[in-house]
Every structure is written in structure tokens, then in C-alpha cells.
Subunit: 412 residues, 2 copies
Amino acid sequence: MVNIAVLGHGVVGSGVVEVIDTNYGHIAKNLGQAINIKRILDLREFDVPYSYKFTKDFDDILNDDEISIVVEVMGGINPAYDFAKKALSRKKSVVTSNKELVAAKGAELLKIAKENNVNFYFEASVGGGIPIIMPMHSCLAANVIDEVAGILNGTTNYILTKMIRENMSFEDALKLAQHLGYAERNPSADVDGHDACRKICILASLAYGKHIYPENVYTQGITDISLEDVEYADNCGCVVKLIGRTKKLSNESGDILCMVSPAFISNQSQLGVIDDVFNGIMVRGNATGDVVFYGKGAGKLPTASAVVGDVIAAAKRFKTTESLTWEDDGKNHVVDYKTTSVPFYVRCKGENAESIICEIFDDIEFLSRKNKPDNEQAFITAELLESDFDSKIEKLSQKGIEVINYIRVLNY
Amino acid sequence: MVNIAVLGHGVVGSGVVEVIDTNYGHIAKNLGQAINIKRILDLREFDVPYSYKFTKDFDDILNDDEISIVVEVMGGINPAYDFAKKALSRKKSVVTSNKELVAAKGAELLKIAKENNVNFYFEASVGGGIPIIMPMHSCLAANVIDEVAGILNGTTNYILTKMIRENMSFEDALKLAQHLGYAERNPSADVDGHDACRKICILASLAYGKHIYPENVYTQGITDISLEDVEYADNCGCVVKLIGRTKKLSNESGDILCMVSPAFISNQSQLGVIDDVFNGIMVRGNATGDVVFYGKGAGKLPTASAVVGDVIAAAKRFKTTESLTWEDDGKNHVVDYKTTSVPFYVRCKGENAESIICEIFDDIEFLSRKNKPDNEQAFITAELLESDFDSKIEKLSQKGIEVINYIRVLNY
């Protein structure tokens, strides 16, 4: 029997209890022994049949030598970071769903795990129930990872899907998402892209072996996306999606591009067809080509099932440590995104917009939409250095054209 | 340094050499040590810089105690089966891409591996470069797998895509696939569904823990699919795909449905958008819901990269054995598909077809296509027990209606 402790009895924590309870026999057969949740840490009181397992004191778990695996599903950096460090130092493997913790402290916790010959696993921190961390690290181990791009946040994907499919405004779609429990009352972490940013940082760190910090990653959310943008996207066979992406640059530095922004992508592509609260992640390996992983990126049971999958893996690898790791060498390996190139979609308005646009931009494609006002223009540019694009946008403004929005066009 | 041997220097075997060579440093960093291909077994002569590694005698590999991992990429049952057994018995882990071998002898080879405390891995046997075996076994370990369905054969998917997108006949699309090297000169293993059958058997065995044998699995290929069927599919928002599927039945027996057949599926679904030589596999877990894996299902480097991923995993788990396993209990766990239910698409012709169809079938939806002959009818039935459907089709014939084709309608 493997004894574990669960830190936090919120949505994911109670889901972990439920998954282990529901699939008890199945898991025991797979693992060769049963999993027993010995203690649960939560400061709140719960009226559940297993309330005798609760403690408010982390030391009850830390000092219990029978507990070999600690599941951290509290969220936030503190006290999760402190608890994880202490558990690893006491030679307990740690499994977490906490993307904030992994994005901020992953390198350090992986190092402590290795020093103590235990494992630090975090499959649930990216893509919820979708297997991605382990497949990337293990099944694709023979590949140099050239690029990763994904729809990493279910809340924003739900909102964008409502805008695209039902012509709902951003505000109404957000309200609906909040009503359905997909979005928090304060939706900033989702709609401003921070959640997606943490996830792409974890994937980038895993792909490149260096800790990529969220503060170095340009992050733009979806609050400026309007129904007009969605209509113009449709006009060129695209949909607007919030894309987190990272790409190895071909130069000597080994530096990477890493950013989060809305993007036009083809509505026929493997990422373009991912709707509602689903997530999808494309990994491009130098031998295997594109591989896409798709599924529920959040939710109680999908996330809990990824956590329990990690618990099973940690139990199987008792007293061994996996080589899954990345270093924090104190440097920023993310290039200034202004030095990278991409085509843009631009929406603007003003007198003589069409001829002014043609003066400033070469090789553009104008778009159309139903009831387009005469003084509104939308177009797709050729691939441009981001800094050059900024100058051109500045020139448009100088000539009296109001730039309403612009969105990157990506080829995923 | 890990010394390995490669049995077979065909497409996959030479790909294994290429992947290990190209990504040598990357792999060594991940694994913590380099991989050295010490010997290659092939009866043919090759003019390559590493020709000194070749042998024609398997004993040179078997008796070399420095070789800890044997890669079997010869294909076919014999002598691959004999070589794999011998290698495992000599405590060498075996990695294979050979679906025929795994589908026929998986349970036995897994058992021998376990007895010898080594590993038998076969990630490349299903889905080529797509991670599926390990994610299903490990990341989704906390789930009871309710269902697996997939586009498992790239050749047939390429042919169907050409029929759907370019209105090409089956015969022309097959010729093109042969010309491009996607199909063999004798295309039976692909177009008759046998390749997809072996793959769904491997996935079913993994999901249910019992060896599922190809000979117990009803298998229908795509040779009867016509452009008319493709047009009618389009009329109801569907595409025709060759689907391998397995599903746990809700009865007490623990028996499963397992079959391969063409199917109408929605052209907007995660499997419906998978085109060309790509494969996609949907796994439905009782906690995580639907997870889909997508990528190149065949080809030299994708397949080789999955093989080398397994080599890395086997090297990491030296002298330990994974619990990945299934049993052969001598029973057939696949139910008679005639006792299962599904809606059907039917195409037929004859005088008064419409009224005769309505007499025999309840609750049907008629379909249309451009230039539909007056005496031709196509329709989708309600969900019907397969044996009941057979009786109804028989009644149609008795009333003078010629049934040209029928295809299952699936909800993936």
C-alpha cells in the first residue's frame, strides 16, 4: 500500500479523492498495490465521510514516514512552495497541479527532488487531463523540440468560441463563462493571458532545459478582441485563438521566442478546430514532425486524473529519480519579441485609408465583412519584423488613420 | 554508454540510425549517457560508413553482454518473435515497431520481459511517431478506459482524403498512394483494414488488460467506398474514415466491442478533420473524458523517433520492469459485433425505393447528392442492432431493391 497526503481539498483536491475512490481497484491492479490517502491538509472543515483524515498542521504529514508521496493542489506560491520544498527534502515525492508554482520555482524544486532521489511531477499543471509533460519528456525524448504552440487556456477558448460561433460580444461571453463556473469573478488571470503564459513557460522550460520565467514572456490577452475582428478572420478562413508559443531560434545563442497573444489561425487546422473549454497543444519535433494533444484542459476530474496518474508514476519509481529536469542559469533566454517576424491582421479607419495603407505596406491582402463601413479597412500584411510593423502602424496614425486593432497571423 | 543492437536495416532501422546520429548530443543529455549502436543485423549488404557494425548472425548480438537493448524493426512474425524471445530471456530489453508481432505475441513477450526484469516496449507499433502507448498506460493510468477510436492507418486515410477533397476515384487514389510510396504494391494489409486491426488490438489489449487477437475482430476495409458514398456523407456534414474502435460493454462480462470498418463521422470532429497520411486516436477515460492524440502515423523518422524514445526509456529503467502488461487467458473477450447497435448509412436503387424503404425502416433521414439518379436512394437509419439491420437489408432485397453499399455512422 502506498500512503499519500493531499494538500488542499478544493476542486482538484476533492477530485483526487474521488478519482482514487472511484477507480480504486483499477489503480491497484495497474500499480500492483493500492493507494491510500492517509492525510488531507486543509484549514477549512468538511462534512465528508473521510473527515478523520483531515489535519490543519502540515507537520503531521511531513513527520509521517509512512507517507511517501505528497500531492500539492492548494494553488498559489505560498505556502505551496515551502511545503513542496520541505516534503522533497524529507524524501517524499511531490505531485502538483500548480502551474504558478512550477513556472516560478520549477528548476529549484526539480533540483531538490534529484538531490533527494525522489520525483517532482506536474503533469496536471499544463493541459489539465491531457497527457503532455510526460509524452514530451519521454516519448519525444529522441527529438529536438523545434516549436511548441497551444491553446492552453479553456476559459478564453470558451469565450472566443462563443464570439465566433454565436456572434456573442466579449462581455456577454465572459458573463456566461462566469455564470457556468468556467471563469473566476476576477477573470484577469485567464483573459489577460497570465494562465496561458505560465503554461507555455513550463513547456518551454521542458523543451529547452532552461527555466523560462513568466516575467520575460510578452503576454497579451483577449480583452481587445471584437466581433468585427472575428468576422474579418472568418473572411480569410481563420478563427481568433489565444496562442501560447515557443520556438527555438536558428541562431547560435540557443535562445528562444516565447510569447502569448491572440492570433488568426486557419479554421481547418488542428488547433483551429479546438473549441469551447478544450485545450490543444502542438509539439514540433525534428524527427517526428507535428504531434497534437487535445482534451479537457481544466475541470475537477480531468485535472485530478492527471494528478493521480503522476502519483501512480511516482509510486512505481519509488527511490529512483527521473531525469526530467531543467536548469536555472540566472539568464534570460527569451529574445525580445520585437526582433521576430510575423504577418499581421490590421483593422483601421479614416479618410482615404485604402490608399494610405497601400503607400505604407507592400504585399497586403484586404479583407471584408458584412456591413463594413466605407471608412473601415482591414488587411493582412506580409511577414514583418515586429519593430518594422510598429513603425508602419505609427506612420498610419501620423497620416490620420486610426488603428483599431491588430492581431498576429500564425501558421498552426 | 548504452550499447544497443538494431535488427533490420530497412526504412525504420536506417531511420533509427539517423535519429540517434542527428540528435546524439541531445539524447545523451536527456539520458545522462550516450547511445551506441554496436551491432546491426541484416542479411543484405549496405554501403554505409557504419558497415563494420553489420552482422548476419543473431548470436553475435545475443551473446554480447555489453548489448543491453535490442531494437527489432524487421517486421513480420518470424524470425522477429524468436529473436525477441531470446533477447528478453537473456535479460536484454526489447523495443519494437512491429505491430504484427505485438498483436500476435504481446502477452507472451510482456510476460517473458517481466520474468527477466527487463522491458518490452512498442510505442512505434501504433500511431508511428504519435505518443499513445505510454500516455495511455501511464498518464491515463488513473482512468478506466471506456472507449478508444482512431484513424490508425495513414495509407487509407490518404486515399479517402483524395476521394473527399479531390473527387478522385478509389482506384486512382490508390495508384497515387503507391506512386508516392504510401501504399505497397500489394496494398491489402492497408486497404483491407488488417493493419488498422492489429493496431486497435494492441490498444484494446492495453486498455482492458486481456490479449485481444486480430482473428476475433471484425475487419472491413475501404475497397467498397465509392465517390457517391463520399458525396452523400458530405450532404449530412460527414466524411468517410476508416475507424478502428474498441469499447467496454456495460454488462458484467467485462467483454468488449472491437472492430474496424469505414464510418461516416462529422467533418467538424477531432477525428473528422484528420486528413492525408495523418493518424489520430481518441481515448475516452472515465475521469479525463476525451483525449485525442494526432500526428504522423508512419514514415521513417517519426516511427524511428518513437523507437528511440523507447530505447531511452528502457535505458533509464535498466534492471527494473514496468507494469505495462496484459494477460492471455485463452478466452475471446470480443463480443459478436452483430449483437451491438449503430446507425447505418444505406445506398440502394430500384423502383419505388423510397416507399419500400419507409415501409421497412422507421425514423430515417434521406440524403441527396448532385445528379442523383431518380431510382437511387440514400438514407441514414436510427440506431439499430446489427442483426436487425441485416434482416431489414434482406427485406429490401426481397422487395427488389438493390443495396449498393452501407456504412456505419459513428459519433466521434
